[in-house]
Structures are given as C-alpha cells and as structure tokens.
C-alpha cells in the first residue's frame, strides 16, 4: 500500500495525493542540506537538467525522486526568474507526459481528478468540457489542436487516451508553474543552489521581433497573405487592429516612418499629422517608447484578417515574420533548382 503511494508520488509529485503524502514525511530543509546531501545534489541536478531540456525517467529511489521535485522547485523559485520558472514547468510537464503515455486509463483519470480537471469517461474515450478544452489548448499552437478537429457532443470534446494525456500535460505545466511561483520564502540553505543555477544557465534576453530588412521593396511577393490583404484594403480604410498590424509589420521589415505614412496616403480620411503621430507611437518613437511587436498569427486570426495560404498551412506559420523567412527560403530554392 505504502509502496504504491510512494510510487505514485514519485511519478506525479505535483498531484494532490503526492503533496499530502510528502507533507507528512518530508524532513526539515536543513537536514537535506547537511545530513542527506546527496538528496539536495540530486534535486539540484534535476533542476539544472530540466533547464537544459533533459528528462530522467530512470530512478532508483521513489522517495528521493519525489522529494527532489520539491527541492528543485525551491531552487528554481530562488532564482526569481520567470523564464526559468516556465522552462522548469515545461520540461517537468514533459517528463510527466512521457510517464502518462504508459499509464492505464484509470490512473490518467485519477491524476486529472487530483488536478481538479472535470472529465468523464466512457470505454476508452475521455470527455472534457469544451471551455476547458479551449483554455487548455490555447498554449498549444499546432493546428492539430483546433476545436474543429475533434468530435464535440453536447458540450464535451471526445478524446482518446493519448490526446487527453497531451492535454493533461498543459494542466500539469500550469500546476507546476503555480507551485514554483507561489513559493514566497526561500530557505537560506537553498539560496546557494539557486545562485549556482543562475551561474550555470544562460537566460535568453527577450528580443523584440527580429528586424528583417527587405532591401528590395518590390519583394512584396514575400509578404504573408494577411499583410497583402491589409495593403489591398488600405484604400477602403482599415479597422484599428488592421492598421496596427500593418504598421508594426512594415516597421519591422525596415520601413521608416515616412514610408509607412506614405502607405496610408490612400485612406479615405487621410490626415498626415494624425497618421504620423500614430505611426510614431506604435514604432516607439513617441509616448511610452514601446516598440510594439507584430501581432502573432493567432491574434491576427482573431482580428479577422487571417487568410492562410498553402505556406501558412504547410509550415504551420505562427508569426508573419516566420512566413517571410520560409518564403524567402522557398524562393531561393526555386531559383537554384
């Protein structure tokens, strides 16, 4: 009985049963740092490996495996770096996904129940409320996870075990992130390891969308279909999100303010002073000095301007700039071939 409990907790340390179990058996932190140093070292390596994208599915001791998750979470929380929180949650969730794939349907149901996800099941099919489905798949950009790809019946999306496990991974990711980010106090003994982590990982600086210089302005052939559509419709006047998308896009591919303002000259109610003012705002030359990024494909879709073409679909394009890169590559291949 106990063995089973520990086994479960080792596999899914973030789950309600596991948390309760470890609450009752965990030692004071300082004991791990002094007496059971190998445990804290194990946890440190777990944290570091996670950040490097490495997953360990092969462990000797269930208790150490489980408790090391909490110690690793403490270490990560001590870095105070949201990027690392996220990275740790992503990889730890991936680890859980790997284990889940070999799990029985009963255990999958138990886990989702313990994570407060409301589901029901019938034979091998698991049913999840469509609102939960939509919220959980928001973080998955693959078009395979759009709602219309699934059977929806009376408000419930029908999923097979494997697909459901993938969805459950999103819940797990959020749960782990919550665990890490809700830790308020970091014991002194742990801070040493948090600092060591910071010394050993490189944190990417968050760059704005990379600027692609389209030297030859005639290369409008590289523009994604949404931008082409917007350009064609400037004459009729664009909605606010439409103008925003177009300005950020033109700015990022190297148009200067004058050139962008020129594009809008054909608008019915064109007012040069206002247009210039707005363009300068969006490109970060005025006001808040924020240089706004081009909206993602998902955003553009919600504005109603997404008219995906073959390339968008085939390469699962998620950002307009990515389209340019791919199209340029395709065109140069064509030229060579």
């Amino acid at each position: 009985m106990l063995e089973k409990k520990v086994r479960w907790a080792a596999k899914y340390p973030f789950d309600r049963d596991a948390i309760n179990y470890f609450k009752s058996v965990a030692l004071p932190i300082k004991d791990y740092v002094t007496e059971y140093k190998d445990v804290i070292e194990y946890a440190y390596n777990r944290a570091l490996n996670s950040l490097r994208g490495r997953i360990n599915l092969d462990w000797d001791n269930d208790y150490v495996e489980g408790i090391s998750f909490y110690l690793a979470a403490l270490i990560i929380a001590g870095t105070n770096n949201f990027y690392l929180y996220k990275r740790f949650s992503d990889i730890e969730a991936k680890r859980a996904y790997k284990i889940l794939q070999r799990e029985s349907i009963e255990n999958i149901l138990r886990l989702s129940n313990n994570l407060d996800l409301n589901i029901s099941s019938e034979d091998e099919v698991i049913n999840i409320f469509y609102i939960d489905f939509i919220r959980l798949t928001k973080g998955i950009s693959s078009i395979h996870w759009r709602l219309y790809n699934f059977r929806l019946h009376k408000g419930y999306v029908n999923l097979h075990k494997k697909a459901f496990a993938r969805l459950l991974t999103e819940v797990i990711k959020n749960k782990i992130y919550d665990i890490v980010s809700s830790i308020r106090e970091i014991p002194e003994e742990i801070e040493f390891y948090s600092n060591k982590i910071m010394d050993n990982v490189t944190i990417p600086r968050k760059e704005p969308n990379e600027i692609i210089e389209l030297k030859d302005r005639k290369k409008a052939a590289l523009f994604p279909p949404c931008v082409k559509y917007l350009l064609e419709n400037v004459k009729q006047g664009l909605s606010h999100p439409g103008r925003f998308t177009l300005v950020t896009f033109l700015h990022r591919i190297g148009y200067d303010v004058d050139e962008i303002v020129n594009v809008f000259k054909v608008t019915p109610d064109f007012n040069e002073r206002m247009t210039r003012y707005q363009v300068e705002h969006i490109t970060g030359m005025r006001g808040s000095r924020i240089e706004y990024n081009i909206p993602s494909c998902k955003k553009i879709r919600s504005y109603g301007y997404c008219i995906p073409d073959e390339i968008c679909k085939k390469y699962n394009i998620r950002h307009p700039l990515k389209y340019i890169k791919i199209k340029r590559r395709l065109l140069s291949h064509e030229a060579e071939g």
Binding site: I131, I134, I143, Y148, N149, L152, H153, K154, S302
Partner: protein, 385 residues
C-alpha cells in the same frame, strides 16, 4: 430623400420609440453595466452612454433624436468611460447571421443611379437616363428570410447538439433587416476572451479547416463532407477530376470509418485535399459574420429597437413559429397601410402582403414596406391613407 419623407420617417421612429421604450429597456439584461450607443437622424453616432434607470433611458430616446440604438455585448464596471478605462467584466456570446454572408441566399436586386435616382431592373454599367454611376441595392423580403432561416436552423443545431446549450439559453432575434441574431447569456461563456471565442467561431464557419488534420472520424467536418459528397454525388465532376470522382464514388459506397482513413491515405495529394476543403467550406459552413462573435466589446443592435433601413423591430422570435411572413408581420410596430410612389420594384413578399413587379406607380403597401422602400431610394412621397 425628400424633406417631407424624412420628416415622415422621423415621426414614425419617434412614435415607435416612445411606445416601445419600456419593452426595449426590459429586454436588455444588466442594463446598467452596458455601454449604449445611438445613431441619430443626421447619421451621427454617439457612444459611451450609460443608462442608469428607465427614466434616463427614456430621456436619451427622446432627447437624442434616435434612429438606431445599440448596446455593448460586454458588461463593464464603468460603461461611460473611454475604452481603456471601462473595466471589462465579461460579454455575451453573439452570433450574427446575415444574408450578405451566405452565398446560397439570393436577394432581389435593383440598380439605382447615384445622380438622378433612376431605378433599373437589370444590371447596367451606367444610368440609361443620365449616364451617372449606378449602385447595386439588394432587397430583403419574406422569401429571402425563409432562405436565411435554414442557416439559422443549422447554427441552432450546432449550438445545441455540439456545444450543449439548452434551447432556453438561446435568445433568437430577427435582426430587423437581412437576418438573425442569437444572444447567449450563459455564465460559462461570459469570460471567454477573443482568442477563445475564435475557436467557437471557426468551429461554426469551418474557416481554416484542413481535412487531413482532423482527429476523429465522428467529428462534424467529416460528417459534413460525407453528407455533401453524397448530396452532390451526380455533380461531382464540377469540382473534381474524373479520376478523383471515381475514387470518391468508390469510397462513398463503402462504410463510415473508411472515409476517415481514406482522407489519411490521400493526405499527400494536396490538390485533391484542397478541393475537398474548399467544397466543405462552401457547403458545410454556417454563414455567420465571425467578427461579431469574436469581438468582446462589440456594439449590437438593442432588442426591440428599430432598424434604420427597414423600420422593423429587432424582435424576439419563437422557434416553434418561425417563417418569413410571420417574422415581418410580427416585427412591424404599426400594422397600417400607407401609399407611396414607386419608381421600380421587383416582386416582393412583405409579411403576408404580396407586391407584384411595379414601375412608376403610386401604390398602397404596408407602412413598414413604404419606409423601407423610401430609405433604399426606390420610392418617395409617403402618404397616410
């Protein structure tokens, strides 16, 4: 529009709004948390209006010379503040079915000269009388509404069978012009953001669907494409090559599961798949105006208020008794007849009133129809009988 007609129409709206004020006010849930907007008879829009109670509502209707009345689908803490300070607290889920978004619905058309007002019954490039430029004007009538109704039923089926809404969750309105609105005020959907609503919208419009990424043989798109192919069994050669037609006929003769696997098998033949995708989008989607569903701070026509073109009321419909004739009769604020001079009008069915094709003649028609025809620029000089 002639001044005399304009004055007549203003009188008509004022009377209807003052008689209907209480009804409108009562049909809007959580009035005090909505942003209101009006369009007056100078076609100027005023928005960010807060309605505190019935008296302030009535004052707005009287003082502002209201032609059209809108409220936000959203609930706000401060409805009268600028957009970024309103503090959004959720929004109803709205669907807008408009004849203009449905290829299958054919509306009657007339062609009006912008310069001299001449109305032509056939498509012309320039006005036959004065050579001026010509506008195409599409006309709605009970027959057209009956066609749009099929689209409405399709949408209702999806909302009930697939999304699990109950019939009483759906408030179904005649939009007052070319279609229908469905309002859903259900707490599950109130807090969905635009991207989340997009999933619901795309499920209904099937926009962006690629049949090869579908994960379930029993999903709606697979059922739909099968239905469409069966229905069009004898005209497949319009859409597909002879070889493709043969493959499709072959697979249709086999069982259900086969079709899904068949799609998996032909996934490499992009041309073929694209033709199927296109056909699915054309015949299987429901023609809603997607942006209305996705936009979480949309202004929508207030229930029981009047449409600016038809003078008809956006009225709540009873699913059991839904037909084009009834919809127009029951959405008319006044039942009386009026006389009006018509330049040209094709045959129209307006409620239970049938109007034959008419050229340059003074005719007696229901008052609402006369308002509509004058607003559309194909008739003038309304008179009481």
């Amino acid at each position: 529009m002639k001044l005399k007609d304009k004055m007549y129409i203003i009188q008509y709206y004022m009377k209807a709004y003052s008689l209907n004020a209480y009804r409108i006010y009562n049909s809007i849930p959580d009035v005090t948390t909505r942003e209101f907007a009006i369009i007056n008879f100078d076609n100027i829009m005023k928005r960010h209006i807060l309605v505190r109670d019935f008296n302030s509502f009535k004052r707005i209707l009287i003082d502002e010379n209201v032609k059209e009345l809108y409220h936000s689908s959203a609930y706000y803490l401060f409805p009268d503040k600028p957009m970024d300070q309103k503090e959004w607290r959720g929004a109803d889920l709205i669907f807008d079915i408009d004849a203009d978004h449905i290829d299958r619905v054919r509306l009657k058309e007339v062609y009006i000269c912008k310069k001299c007002g001449e109305v032509h019954n056939k498509p012309v490039d320039i006005c036959i009388r004065c050579g001026g430029t010509v506008d195409k004007v599409k006309l709605i009538d009970s027959e057209a509404l009956n066609q749009v109704k099929n689209e409405l039923f399709k949408l209702i089926d999806i909302l009930i069978d697939d999304f699990g809404f109950k019939e009483e969750d759906l408030k179904i309105f005649f939009s007052g012009h070319r279609g229908f609105h469905i309002h859903i005020t259900n707490e599950n959907i109130l807090n969905l953001d635009g991207i989340e609503r997009l999933e619901i919208k795309d499920y209904i419009t099937m926009e962006g669907i690629d049949l090869v990424t579908i994960r379930d043989p029993n999903s709606r798109p697979i059922r739909e494409i099968k239905r469409i192919l069966r229905e069009k069994k004898d005209e497949l050669n319009i859409y597909f090559s002879p070889n493709e037609v043969k493959v499709i006929r072959d697979i249709l003769n086999r069982g259900d599961i086969n079709f899904y696997h068949f799609l998996k098998r032909i996934r490499g033949r992009r041309g073929f798949i694209e033709k199927l995708n296109k056909l699915l989008l054309k015949e299987g989607s429901v023609g809603i105006d997607g942006i209305v569903t996705v936009d979480t701070s949309r202004l929508i026509r207030a229930p029981e208020s009047l449409h600016g073109k038809t003078g008809l009321v956006k009225s709540l419909l009873d699913l059991e008794r839904l037909d084009g004739e009834r919809i127009i009769s029951e959405s008319s604020p006044e039942e009386k007849m009026a006389s009006v001079y018509v330049r040209y009008i094709p045959r129209l069915l307006w409620g239970d009133y049938e109007l034959n094709e008419t050229f340059n003649e003074r005719i007696k028609v229901p008052l609402t129809l006369s308002i509509y025809l004058v607003n559309m620029g194909i008739a003038y000089d309304i008179r009481d009988l």
